[in-house]
């Protein structure tokens, strides 16, 4: 349930702030792995961008930019390797855990419901004196997830898998929001399915087998939390001045909306960290530059090294590509962004959007190439005709509503609308975000629909209201405040992630306030396929089921996919060993060094 506030927002943050121009050609262009030279220590890495993290506490931090930062100062039981090979980059490896648990090594029980994980030694907090990270710290990290003040944005990953998590959270929700009361609750209550028999062992009991449980533990939400964190209200201003680190860098300065500085963490040891490195001395993140064009110019001039939350402006990409600028990196985003959703609840046009034939007609209307042009053209964007984008479990390409060159087929749309009983077209309310590329996308879709006889009334909103007042507000949906909208989605993890794409977006049983099944699509076939896929023991067994769900959703024309994008980012010429980290949509700060 990675919600709208979630990594999806990572995308929309950039969007808001200017433009997600995501996209990009192929990862071979750009050459940004730049691993030729030998590692060099020292220097200050400068990142420049628009705005602050959403949260600094691992419990609630959900933006892709927050992940960029968390990669440097937090650690998880499992995490993802830094590698240019996408097929490897999306599979979890051991981080603080000693090995990946399997049934063969005894880490996973035969019934797939018990995970026993051992912690490696040498992992320490930057306390005075430095103190070992224990199994209890990881238990505490999970307990803090459902605190009543700043809870995790995607509780479902944990409450739907771990035994007793839901009960623990239900009780926690009733606790007053002060540090003392929350600490008392955590000290006196346990999540029955999470135990720490000793300081280096943690045992999870699951409600049913979950082939994606390691992915769930690899989310930064499941980071270790030191006992000191219980002194603070999660993520409040005091907390933000007192973060502790078990990663290679520690936060030495946090100034909201202005600057975040990190320094080497002397308690961290390379031998105890199989993933991260500590090459640069300092990392400086400067915020307040909301124009991506200016950020781009500064990096090109060398006064900044990397983007923080902006991407290369679409307009700049052709020239950079033409000059074979090796500082430009273009990486697959493995996401579906944006796409068009229908409000199944809308009473407008006498409930036309409830009719399968109407939605199927509209599937033919969209010129997907034109949408791609808004995001930088075919080098950066590939038309998508299904729910699951490439790089994610269950992906098998298919297209139920083909149009010539993906350019749209207004005649077919019009004819099908007439057959459905709407020869004079429809009038649809189209709510959109008044920021970034969204107005352009909206006008492109509006022009496409007009050719098919559909009149669109535009309703511009701020990104916050777009979700808060419209998409996640069932009473507004029932009144017909909106009929169509184009949100985007960046899954919380890639690979085995049906739980992070199909389930949140299309499981009709979750519909309600804040649901991301925005339009209330609800199909009993799809719901049962989701249940079956989630309880399969391995991703390979789940894949055909996810594909069937994908097929059913497209048969039902529940939404209109547009495209899958690539991300274009840029670094200064002194930055070396730039390895793209797909989860944060940026380079991995713990891998780069400065020439």
């Amino acid at each position: 349930m990675y919600g709208r506030r979630g990594r999806a927002v990572g995308a929309s943050v950039a969007t808001v702030l200017a433009l997600v121009l995501a996209g990009c050609g192929n990862s071979s262009n750009g050459s940004s792995t730049g691993a030729a030279s030998t590692p060099k220590q020292g220097g200050t890495l400068k990142l420049l961008g628009a705005s602050d993290v959403d949260h600094l506490d691992t419990v609630s931090a959900y933006y892709t930019t927050s992940y960029t930062l968390e990669r440097a100062f937090t650690r998880q039981l499992f995490s993802y390797p830094a590698t240019a090979d996408v097929s490897k980059a999306i599979n979890p490896v051991a981080d603080v855990a000693t090995v990946i648990p399997t049934t063969a090594n005894g880490g996973i029980s035969a019934d797939g419901k018990t995970y026993t994980i051992h912690l490696r030694s040498g992992v320490r907090w930057n306390t005075q004196p430095a103190r070992a990270v224990t199994a209890g710290d990881f238990v505490r990290g999970l307990q803090r997830l459902c605190n009543p003040v700043s809870p995790v944005g995607a509780p479902g990953y944990y409450t739907n898998t771990i035994v007793g998590m839901q009960q623990f959270c239900d009780g926690f929700a009733k606790v007053p929001g002060n540090a003392k009361a929350m600490a008392d609750y955590i000290d006196s209550h346990q999540i029955s399915g999470v135990t720490a028999p000793n300081d280096t062992t943690i045992v999870f009991k699951l409600m049913k087998p979950a082939s994606d449980f390691l992915n769930i533990l690899a989310l930064p939400f499941a980071s270790a939390a030191p006992v000191e964190y219980l002194r603070y209200v999660p993520d409040d201003a005091t907390f933000r001045q007192h973060t502790l680190s078990d990663g290679p860098y520690e936060i030495t300065k946090y100034s909201a909306n202005k600057e975040i500085d990190l320094d080497r963490n002397s308690a961290w040891e390379q031998t105890a960290d199989p993933i991260r490195h500590q090459y640069v001395d300092q990392i400086q993140i400067v915020q307040g530059q909301t124009d991506p064009g200016t950020v781009q110019q500064q990096i090109q001039a060398g006064t900044a090294d990397m983007e923080w939350d902006t991407v290369v402006p679409t307009a700049n990409i052709p020239a950079l590509r033409a000059s074979n600028d090796s500082r430009l990196g273009i990486f697959p985003a493995l996401s579906t962004n944006p796409f068009l959703i229908f409000n199944f609840q809308s009473p407008n046009n006498s409930g036309a959007l409830k009719k399968l034939q109407v939605r199927q007609a509209l599937e033919y209307a969209i010129d997907k190439v034109a949408i791609g042009q808004i995001y930088g053209g075919p080098d950066l964007n590939t038309p998508l005709d299904q729910v699951i984008p490439p790089g994610n479990v269950g992906y098998q390409p298919f297209n139920l509503y083909p149009t010539p060159d993906h350019r749209g087929d207004p005649a077919k749309c019009k004819q099908m609308l007439a057959q459905a009983g709407y020869p004079n077209g429809l009038k649809l309310n189209y709510v959109y975000r008044n920021a970034g590329n969204h107005p352009a996308v909206t006008q492109s879709v509006q022009a496409d629909l007009k050719k098919c006889g559909v009149t669109v009334k535009l309703i511009p909103q701020t990104p916050a209201d777009f979700y808060g007042k419209y998409l996640t507000n069932p009473s507004g949906a029932r009144q017909g405040l909106w009929d169509i909208a184009a949100p985007g989605w960046v899954p919380d993890w890639y690979g085995n992630n049906g739980r992070a794409i199909v389930e949140p977006l299309f499981d009709g049983r979750t519909y309600g306030p804040n649901s991301v099944d925005y339009g209330d699509y609800n199909s009993s076939e799809v719901n049962s396929l989701i249940d079956r896929a989630l309880s399969e023991a391995t991703a390979d067994k789940a894949a055909p089921l996810w594909h069937q769900a994908d097929m059913q959703i497209m048969k039902d024309a529940a939404f209109i996919p547009f495209q899958t994008q690539k991300t274009a980012i840029y670094h200064s010429s002194r930055v070396q060993n730039t390895i793209f980290f797909p989860f944060s949509q940026n380079y991995d700060l713990t891998q780069v060094w400065l020439q």
């Binding site: 433009l19 064009g293 402006p313 679409t314 307009a315 700049n316 990409i317 052709p318 020239a319 010129d367 190439v369 034109a370 791609g372 042009q373 808004i374 995001y375 930088g376 053209g377 075919p378 080098d379 008044n434 920021a435 107005p439 352009a440 909206t442 006008q443 492109s444 509006q446 022009a447 535009l458 309703i459 511009p460 701020t462 209201d465």
Partner: protein, 318 residues
């Protein structure tokens, strides 16, 4: 304003036509008109304004000639495959924008919005300013202190912040833009009118009228109001360009005209991302805006000079 101008321009002889004999004393406005006619800058600026009005009125005809509608997207010919606008050519005289639309025809249609909003909001502002300023200045006392403080209040409002807040609550639209602009412009007119009314009401002829038994309403309408016409005309011509720029600002911020309707302000806003690769996209709407405000400002200056030949810079400061 424009209608009056048009009528005058159509009949250059109007100056003398309404007068009984050539020798008779000429009215204040007639004198001003003759001065205005001798002002070259005024003629030039007036011609530009008339041209703009003509273009705005003829926009659908011009669209027919070019064969391009303002919201028509030429995705194959008007965009590179990477989605960049294409430059000026025989097909697209001013190039295209980021959705492959013809910048020329959008600039032409943008003139409609600019003039509509500029003129309508100014008329509203002047009307409100006249009524409230006159009432405050002439009636005095509690009415004056209430209305004058209200005007001070409006003048001290952070207008852009207020406009942004209001539009985000109500939602952007052209009528709202007109109202917002009028609301922030009337108080300046009101203050000037109030000051003039204050001084006029002390004149002897007002006292004479009162002695003859004239009521307040009659004195305000018949005795005071005609004396305010000249300064108000000056102020009107100077308010129009301010209103046009204000509309462009609102549209630039996404708070004015809804897309895909073209307005110079939202064209400029769209073009920002592209100024490095598509100069035409930012240049032409920018030029149109500059030319229009310049023409109105110069014309307003000339009108002021014509009406008050001795006091060159009275109403210019704001």
């Amino acid at each position: 304003m424009t209608a009056q101008l048009g009528a005058v321009a159509d009949t250059p002889a109007a100056e003398s036509a309404g007068l009984p004999t050539p020798i008779a004393g000429r009215g204040q406005l007639a004198l001003a008109w003759s001065r205005l006619r001798k002002d070259r800058m005024a003629l030039l600026a007036g011609t530009v304004i008339l041209l703009l009005v003509a273009i705005a009125l003829a926009a659908p005809l011009i669209a027919q000639v070019t064969g391009h509608q303002p919201d028509e997207q030429f995705r194959q010919t008007g965009l590179t495959s990477a989605g960049l606008p294409v430059g000026p050519s025989r097909e697209f005289w001013f190039g295209t924008d980021n959705l492959g639309r013809d910048v020329f025809i959008r600039v032409v249609y943008g003139a409609r919005i600019s003039l509509l909003v500029g003129v309508l909001s100014t008329i509203l502002a002047v009307a409100a300013g006249l009524v409230i300023g006159l009432a405050a200045g002439y009636l005095g006392g509690a009415v004056d202190s209430t209305l004058a403080r209200f005007m001070d209040l409006v003048l001290s409002f952070p207008l852009l912040l207020f406009a942004i807040a209001l539009v985000s609550v109500v939602g952007p639209s052209v009528p709202l833009a007109i109202l917002v602009i009028a609301f922030f412009s009337w108080a300046a007119v009101g203050r000037i009118v109030r000051g003039l009314a204050l001084s006029i009401k002390e004149r002897e002829y007002i006292e004479a009228a009162r002695a003859l038994g004239a009521g307040n309403r009659r004195i305000m309408l018949i005795e005071v109001l005609p004396n305010l016409v000249a300064p108000v005309i000056v102020y009107t011509t100077l308010l129009i360009p301010i209103a046009i720029v204000f509309e462009a600002t609102l549209s630039f911020l996404g708070l004015g005209v809804l897309p895909p309707t073209p307005s110079w302000g939202n064209m400029l806003s769209d073009s920002l991302q592209y100024y490095q690769v598509a100069w035409w996209f930012v240049l032409f709407p920018g030029l149109a805006l500059l030319l229009t405000t310049l023409a109105f400002n110069l014309f307003g200056d000339s009108v002021r000079d014509a009406l008050h030949p001795s006091t060159t810079h009275l109403a210019g400061t704001r």
